[in-house]
């Protein structure tokens, strides 16, 4: 009709949900690059390939865990139980099947862990979707239950000494590249595909952005919620296994801080806690930024006492900057 109404091919449509998501990912990339240059300048050791691979390796497990957290946060929820679930499932596997013992089945052990994770996620999902508990409460409860179970299961003991083929998952190297980095890349790819290219992923975004409108458009909101929490539980359990494989030890308590780190990485990656906004690629960048900051502080000899405080402050500043830039018109 009017000249301002664009016809046919003239209308742009990106693969990204919106130009804004795209630009926010770009700004995060720029942040990553800036940080990279800063660290390279501050310490010559940073650029050594061994160090770079180290950073990636450290970021990989956090990245995997944060991918699940991103889905949950996209629905407008939160999952405080992932650290505890990671611990519980891996302790259970370590204890019951003695992955370390010769003759036991690695496959069976891994399957058990994932099943435990899925079950915890299912309970979380049902509590949120059907019982309508606030996600914070439901998953807080799950966190405590899972922690308690881990302690009941193996007490204060540490189980160590696992089979080589199992440890390969966390500590192996193929062609100079650590296996966890490859796994993380694969997980990011898969979750990106699920969230951006499937009907299920669309339901996740829609549910988080406007639950009521989504429901009225025929989106199966409850089912999407349950599926997301289950998937997140499985991812948590899987991450737990990778930790055990890397450390060659399972102990209750190793995952106590994990959920907070995952939430921080997701938010640093540009996801909104209110739901519907964010992207796993952003989250991966967020996890990388966090690990680079820690690495940079190590290289520059900043004491670990200061590190925690500084990391916290940096996270707050990053999110604040993001919010301010969103508000400016």
């Amino acid at each position: 009709m009017t000249k301002r109404h664009l016809e046919g091919e003239a209308v742009r449509a990106g693969g990204f949900a919106s130009p804004r998501t795209f630009s926010s990912i770009m700004s995060r990339m720029a942040g990553l690059l800036g940080l990279f240059v800063l660290l390279a300048l501050s310490s010559p050791a940073f650029l050594r390939s061994q160090n770079l691979i180290n950073v990636l390796r450290q970021a990989s497990l956090l990245t995997i865990l944060s991918c699940g957290m991103t889905l949950v946060i996209l629905t407008g929820g939160i999952d405080l139980s992932v650290g505890a679930v990671a611990t519980l499932s891996s302790c259970m596997t370590a204890n019951l099947f003695r992955v370390g013992q010769p003759g036991s089945s690695v496959l069976l052990g891994v399957a058990t862990a994932l099943l435990v994770g899925a079950l915890c996620g299912l309970v979380n999902g049902l509590m949120v979707a059907k019982v309508k508990l606030p996600p914070f409460i439901a998953t807080f409860g799950m966190m405590q239950v899972a922690r308690g179970c881990s302690l009941l299961l193996i007490g204060g003991n540490i189980i160590y000494g696992f089979r080589r083929d199992f440890r390969f998952l966390g500590a192996g190297v193929i062609g100079g590249i650590p296996v966890p980095i490859m796994i993380a890349a694969a997980v990011v790819g898969v979750i990106w595909f699920i969230s951006r290219k499937t009907v299920f992923g669309r339901s996740v975004y829609a549910t988080g952005a406007n639950k009521r409108a989504a429901m009225l458009s025929g989106v199966h909101v409850d089912r999407a919620l349950v599926q997301v929490y289950v998937l997140n539980g499985v991812i948590a359990a899987f991450t737990g296994l990778l930790y055990v494989a890397r450390l060659n030890a399972a102990e209750p308590g190793f995952g106590d801080q994990l959920q907070l780190q995952a939430i921080a990485a997701t938010v640093m990656g540009g996801a909104a806690m209110t739901g519907g906004r964010g992207d796993v690629t952003g989250t991966a960048v967020g996890a990388l930024i966090m690990m680079m900051i820690i690495n940079g502080m190590n290289l520059n000899g900043i004491s670990s006492l200061w590190q925690q405080a500084l990391t916290g402050a940096i996270i707050i500043c990053a999110v604040l900057a993001e919010n301010l830039s969103q508000r400016r018109k």
Binding site: T2, A13, G14, K197, N210, S217, G218, H220, K329
Partner: protein, 505 residues
Amino acid sequence: MQCPYLVQLKGICKSFPGVRALNNVDFDLKPGEVHVLIGENGAGKSTLMKILSGNYMQDSGEIILGGKAVTMDSPKKAEESGISIIHQEFNLVPQLTVEQNIFLGHEPRCKMKLFPNRAVSRSDAGKLLERVGLDVGLDERVEDLGVAQKQLVELAKALSLDARVLIMDEPTAALSSREIESLFGIIRQLTGEGVGIIYISHRLGEVHEIGDRVTVLRDGQGVGTMNVADVVLDELVRMMVGRDLSEMFVRSRVPAESGRKIVLKAERLCVDGLLDDISLEVREGEIVGLAGLVGSGRTEFAKAVFGVLPVSDGHIELFGERVTRSNPRNLIRMGVGLVPEDRKDEGIIQILSVQENITMASLGRLFPSGIVKSSIERRTTQKYVDMLRIMTDSLGKQVCFLSGGNQQKVVVGKWLCSELRLIIFDEPTRGVDVGAKAEIHRIMDDLVRQGVSILMISSDLPEVLGMSDRIYVVRSGRTVREFARDEASQEEIIRHAMGGESCAS
């Protein structure tokens, strides 16, 4: 020297990424006048008003209040300068009560300024509600109100500020004639007190009824400002769209064949506290209008059919089968859709894109494998963007950045996209301009020709009369009268909708 203008806007320009929303626009307002602002969807009306009310900063141009240039850098500043605005997309906090919303940000305080003065705010809020003619409890939560009621709460909120300049962005889009009457009463009273009012509307009849001067915007530019007395309606339309336009779509009627299948049948349908006794039927290829006052239960009926409100008594039959447990998902699968009245909370998903919104209700049909194919999705969306002439610079634009009327078109597009057999339209043309309204009416006509059935709820009586094959009038949760299309008249419908005097049906 006294400045004759309350407000002068000079050479206002504003661009958003990808769009030039305003280009060198002048506008002014004198005390005691109603200055009407009209233009097509996306012409820039709301943007201009958001600049005046401090929600956006202009890229260039001046805002002059009472002769002094000011920078309007926040809504608070505008409020302090005596400018208050009723936003097109309401600005209410759904979880708060009516009273809390009215006084949000300027609660009456006790002497020490520490605590809110509950007694004063209560009685003031009560008076305001009475003044705008809204009959709801002060403690009712805003999320439980209908769109028209939210509109009146917005009005009460704006009035509570005692502003000298009052901006009304499409205040009547969701109101029925009774509320509009009382709104006009309030406007006349305010102008009598010297308040200046900027009034935006797509109901062009209102220009002559309430306006003193009128300014037309087209594609972000001012086309002209005139005294209302000097222009006729056709000329306004021509200025708005840049060409002649027959204002209304007229349905070409085909005589109804008898014995067409009944698609929707409601029998003595009740919903606790909201509906008692709605009985009606919709046949294949028919447009049935549902008329009534705001709050009469039309929207609630639509929601009950769509499985959102629980039916407490009576029953619903769809396509000849009795519906027992219904929810939106099942109904969509059966071929039933509801274009909801409340587009902001129930229609669109604001932070998702035009594309994601339009295909939202059709994902299962378009992608049975569960994998979204971008090319198909884009092509499908493009079809509806073209059909409804949705003005957006990209399919990936977030819907909340579209103009109000274009958001409404997205909601309509979503339901057209899902290829249904029965569509319930609740205020389908709320906020869309004359041209687009005729276009939507033409599409509805096409649909019924193809055998789709339509149940249309509208507060716009000419729309109901012009489009419907049959009309039911609803009053206090009951269907009180059925009209065939040639029996119905505006007066008759209003009389039955209001009830009261000699209502022999």
